[in-house]
């Protein structure tokens, strides 16, 4: 299963990246336009400079005698700095007559033709004079242009980089506001569960979410109705099943009381025993039906201690072996959980029944409230391995025992613990003992 992701985070990242990308594209386009403009300006200046310089050099040429010499003359004004533009004055054979102090004495590798010529490092403009006998070539280094271009581009991009964090903040604010209905829907849906199937009741949802909200409400209503029908069925079944069994049992017991001793009374005893067995089995099946109907979670937290006391009291009052049951409840202890008390009582009854039935006779069975998040039933007896206890929650699977039972008790408890949001924990030997078993219902603390 892929890891879950945050829609807000993903949107923020992609929107920020998208925005930054468009900004950078815009800056790139701007830089290209800027370069065109720069080239025009530089070319214009280069052309102008060449033409002006040509007239000056022609004057100088006619006044100077040096030009008749074989070597080119370097024009080097005192205090001259490194120059941006370099030039060469060449005759029609290509010989360099004159060059600026940063220009080489060797001729530029530029044809003697009026106009622009580009090589790797320079853009050179050539102008001809005196019937194409003199050529002035002025070279403008491309580095200079590139530097101007880069500075211009940097001026465009740097503010964008600074604006990205600000845009993240703005996008986050916009997303938070825009996605608020989703958060609201998420919160409401996350509050729904076994104990809360109320409709969401979100009337003012945006169009995109209104359909989802309505569908969830419909689903919740149907689910609630289905679960309620199942619970009602279990409750009505309990009544409809218990009443005739109760009648049959009561009549049989009257028969037993009125019959003289003998084989008829023995038969009545067998009927009574069968009816009691049916009672126990129907009890378990009804509990299982209730567990399957999803009782367990409740919307409102309640203190389970009063219900626990009642359940323990039920057993103790029956006397006999049940008198072994001890309740360990430190004063002031409360067991507050969002749990259906009927589900809790069914689970606890089953744990106590099991401990009384399968623990050694005449040894105490302890019901212990272990703080606010757990209750345990502890009985004596041989140590049981984890491999064995793991199979106890399977329906109709009974442990290695000759005691009467349906094999449903612990599967009912397991199912109820799950719907109560708790864990069913087996521990053998029991804590602080070398034997025995502790079976606990534990809620996350």
């Amino acid at each position: 299963m892929s890891a879950s992701f945050s829609m807000t985070r993903r949107l923020m990242i992609w929107l920020t990246l998208g925005t930054a990308l468009f900004w950078l594209l815009s800056a790139g386009l701007g830089a290209m336009v800027m370069r065109e403009e720069f080239d025009e300006v530089f070319d214009s200046a280069l052309e102008e400079t060449t033409q002006r310089l040509m007239s000056l050099l022609i004057d100088q040429q006619f006044q100077s005698t040096a030009v008749s010499g074989a070597d080119p003359v370097e024009v080097s004004p005192p205090g001259a700095k490194r120059e941006y533009l370099t030039y060469q004055l060449r005759d029609q054979t290509g010989r360099v007559l004159l060059h600026s102090h940063d220009a080489p004495s060797e001729p530029f590798q530029v044809p003697l033709r009026q106009g622009y010529f580009d090589d790797e490092d320079h853009r050179t403009y050539t102008v001809a004079a005196l019937n194409d006998t003199l050529f002035l070539q002025v070279a403008d280094p491309l580095d200079h242009r590139r530097e101007a271009m880069l500075e211009g581009a940097r001026t465009l991009v740097l503010p964008i980089l600074g604006l990205i964090p600000a845009s993240v903040l703005v996008i986050w604010l916009i997303l938070s506001k825009a996605l608020r209905p989703i958060s609201l829907l998420q919160d409401e849906i996350s509050q729904r569960g076994g104990g809360n199937l109320r409709p969401l009741g979100l009337d003012e949802m945006p169009q995109e979410l209104a359909g989802i909200s309505t569908s969830v409400d419909t689903l919740l209503l149907r689910l609630g109705a289905a679960l309620q029908a199942e619970r009602d069925f279990a409750a009505h079944s309990a009544h409809e099943l218990r009443t005739p069994i109760a009648g049959a049992l009561a009549q049989t017991q009257r028969l037993l009381a009125e019959l003289p001793s003998g084989h008829l009374q023995a038969r009545a005893c067998q009927i009574e025993a069968s009816l009691k067995a049916i009672t126990r089995l129907s009890e378990k099946l009804l509990q299982l039906a209730r567990a399957d109907a999803g009782i367990g979670a409740a919307e409102t937290p309640v203190d389970l201690v009063p219900a626990l006391r009642l359940v323990v009291d039920e057993f103790v009052r029956l006397g006999g072996q049940n008198a072994r049951l001890k309740l360990e409840l430190p004063p002031g202890t409360r067991l507050i959980q969002a749990v259906d008390i009927d589900a809790f009582a069914i689970a606890l009854r089953n744990l106590i029944e099991n401990a009384l039935r399968h623990g050694p006779q005449n040894e105490a069975v302890v019901v212990r409230v272990e703080g606010p998040n757990g209750v345990a039933v502890i009985n004596c007896g041989p140590v049981v391995s984890d491999a064995i206890t793991a199979g106890w929650t399977t329906r109709f699977k009974r442990g290695a025992t000759s005691s009467p039972g349906s094999g449903l008790g612990l599967s009912i408890v397991s199912q109820l613990a799950s719907t109560m949001g708790a864990k069913l924990v087996f521990q053998s030997p029991a804590p602080d003992r070398s034997d025995g078993l502790r079976v606990a219902i534990e809620w996350p603390g």
Partner: protein, 219 residues
């Protein structure tokens, strides 16, 4: 004791009535809330056995009305509603005990005695009448020469007197305890059973208070 049984199921009602009668209790049997209301208006019951799901209403509502009238007659709920929340609702409405169907008639008898003992302020389950030991819960009477047998009606009279030890119990109240046992009560019926009790327990324990009723002197 005079017991009002409120139960709509004839099979259960019939068995409970017969069992209670065999224990010496006089039973009035109502199958609806309306009948139960009528009984409680005219008969001073010592105990009510109440089903919760009746054809014309809820037993809990009947119980609340009863307690609302400050009628503190002990009530044991007999119901098929087995959930702990039902039990809490029943106890909160004023029930003294709660027994889930199907129940054992022996368990029901024990609960009836326990409630009766609590309301009769008997702190001990064994009552000493001179040489005679009475164990009402077990319906056992032991004299110096062994067990003493009492008929159902004799038990009904003895139980009625034992629940108010040292105080005068009107003859009409003892008659009430005998009426529902199923047979006619003649004008001298109470005297007949008191006389039989005196023979079995000794003459000094049941004292006649002329014109008012009878008093049980407990040692």
């Amino acid at each position: 004791m005079r017991v009002l049984l409120v139960e709509d199921d004839p099979t259960i009602g019939n068995a409970v009535r017969d069992h209670a009668a065999s224990q010496g209790h006089a039973v009035d049997w109502a199958t609806t809330i309306a009948q139960a209301d009528a009984f409680s208006d005219v008969v001073d019951s010592d105990l009510i056995l109440l089903d919760l799901q009746l054809p014309d209403g809820s037993g809990v509502a009947f119980l609340k009305r009863l307690r609302g009238r400050r009628n503190m007659t002990p009530v044991i709920v007999l119901t098929a509603r087995d959930q702990i929340s039902d039990r809490i609702e029943g106890l909160n409405a004023g029930a003294d005990d709660y027994l889930v169907k199907p129940f054992d008639l022996g368990e029901l008898a024990a609960r009836i005695h326990a409630v009766a003992r609590r309301y009769g302020q008997r702190t001990t389950p064994i009552i000493q009448l001179g040489d005679v030991e009475v164990e009402p819960a077990e319906r056992r009477l032991t004299g110096p020469h062994g067990a003493i047998d009492l008929s159902g009606r004799e038990w009904a009279v003895l139980d009625c007197l034992l629940r108010h030890p040292g105080t005068i119990v009107p003859k009409s109240r003892i008659e009430d305890a005998l009426y529902a046992l199923g047979s006619e009560v003649q004008s001298n019926t109470v005297e007949v059973y008191v006389s039989r009790l005196r023979k079995k327990l000794g003459s000094s324990h049941v004292v006649t208070v002329r014109g008012l009723g009878y008093r049980m002197d407990v040692a």
